[in-house]
Subunit: 324 residues, 2 copies
Amino acid sequence: MMNRAEELHIPTYDDVLKAHALIKPHIHRTPVLTSSFMNELSGAELFFKCENFQKAGAFKVRGASNAVFGLDQNQISKGVATHSSGNHALSLSYAAGRRSIPVTVVMPKTAPAAKKAAVRGYGGIVVECEPSTSSREAVFAEVVAQSGADFVHPYNDHRVIAGQGTCALELHEDTGTLDAVIAPIGGGGMVSGSCLTLSNIAPATKIYAAEPHNADDAWRSFKAGYIIADDAPQTVADGLKVPLKDLTWHFVSRHVEDILLVTEEEIIDAMYLMWQRMKIVIEPSSAVPVAAILKNRQLFAGKRIGVIITGGNVDLKQLPWMQE
Amino acid sequence: MMNRAEELHIPTYDDVLKAHALIKPHIHRTPVLTSSFMNELSGAELFFKCENFQKAGAFKVRGASNAVFGLDQNQISKGVATHSSGNHALSLSYAAGRRSIPVTVVMPKTAPAAKKAAVRGYGGIVVECEPSTSSREAVFAEVVAQSGADFVHPYNDHRVIAGQGTCALELHEDTGTLDAVIAPIGGGGMVSGSCLTLSNIAPATKIYAAEPHNADDAWRSFKAGYIIADDAPQTVADGLKVPLKDLTWHFVSRHVEDILLVTEEEIIDAMYLMWQRMKIVIEPSSAVPVAAILKNRQLFAGKRIGVIITGGNVDLKQLPWMQE
């Protein structure tokens, strides 16, 4: 039987260090904020790693930049491509723009015009597909065949996971060893990167993932012991609808302490609270771990907890508490 | 003729240094943020002093804390009082709570329930008056007569101005000498404190004030050479409706380079832009200097500019771009 680490190309901690050196000039060293109000409310000492202040508004720029700046000379003229209607599309466009290479993003026709405009704003080419998996795959295959572009998957890519691992590295540098780190889980890119880094530099730090009840495929996978994928779950945390894949499952299944579920109402309440009290704009996905901490006081009270605030890209004219 | 500095009790730079030592344990050292996007847009190098992250959500806690923690033993049992329905009420309640002394705030019956609740949340007593100046003055006089509370005016108070001056002091420490500093102007407390500090430690730094067209009494005063007060101007920047008073006029008339006016639309656009691109929650008043910079490119381009982001207390369910 083939060794799984060879079969899959599992990134190493050394890859995280190399990624950090490579992407540092292109990303922000985001601040770690604290709040006495949130500490009192949770009973824990919380350290918020604010990737909402990151370039392109989300942590995804770490993995995307690592992929883009790691391309060799032969590949750069052909550029990169991805399919995403979220932060990865923006981030890959940003990174490709910084390296002045072509970037194509396949997005469903039905994606919000603002998202297409944002990708184009960073210099990306938007190619539209029908809003179905079969159309997306067909259109994407054609884009890659024509351009020779390198496919940078939003999370199931060793370069992307190593890039995301730089976030926990910076957090650890700023706070010292934490009792636990918690991040939202969708496809598992951020959680995998955090597992990769922390299992090497702080193996005693527990890693929790937080997920919406409405998109609890990672939780069910974790309990079942194999990947379960859902088709189009509905949650306000729109970055967390995608399923685990083999590379992220590798890390999640080995290093995650537990996955905690929260309701839509708990997500919106936590998001509102963070805006109101910490005065920071965070997207619903970022509120998921905050909601999980407030819901599971006994797990976190009295401990030093890192919280990954994954992004701040929201439509300010369509806030979830306006739609209640 | 009486010397005006004796008549008025003009605070000195030494008062600012004493204030800083006194209030430091009770306030945040707020961060100075930068944004490559905002720099490109303005052509200037902007340093945002983020008092929206301050305790109680605004710079006002500096002056309020200086007044409260400077009280002598005889006064502390009698407490403090003020009339305000805005950030000063919250800030004074916060500071009094930290020193465990009584605080009474006279607010019009018609003030939003959320504002009264916030004052009570910090331990303040709310006494309601009719929404008229005569009722407010009568009710306030009664509160002071009964309690012996020390009146802490929102801005026309030497202790308050010295406290607000600590903000420019921190900014200067973090950025070095700037070409200019710009802050919003209402009653002029923050601008006066900035004048007091910068005229002593960085006399070459120009001080600009920014004001809504709809509440341009400070601008008209500045041009006329004497205080002009309006009755109840209407602007989205609700912290800037109040007029200059003799103490703040002292500083504004001597040290301000110019007062720049912006429209309601420009304020809302600048506020939206800051939320969207910098991912920080700022109140409309804080967007006024940002709008002034974007409107007066020729004044600021190529220069290093400090921008006082005065606060972040907004009703998240009533955002101004929702009401267009």
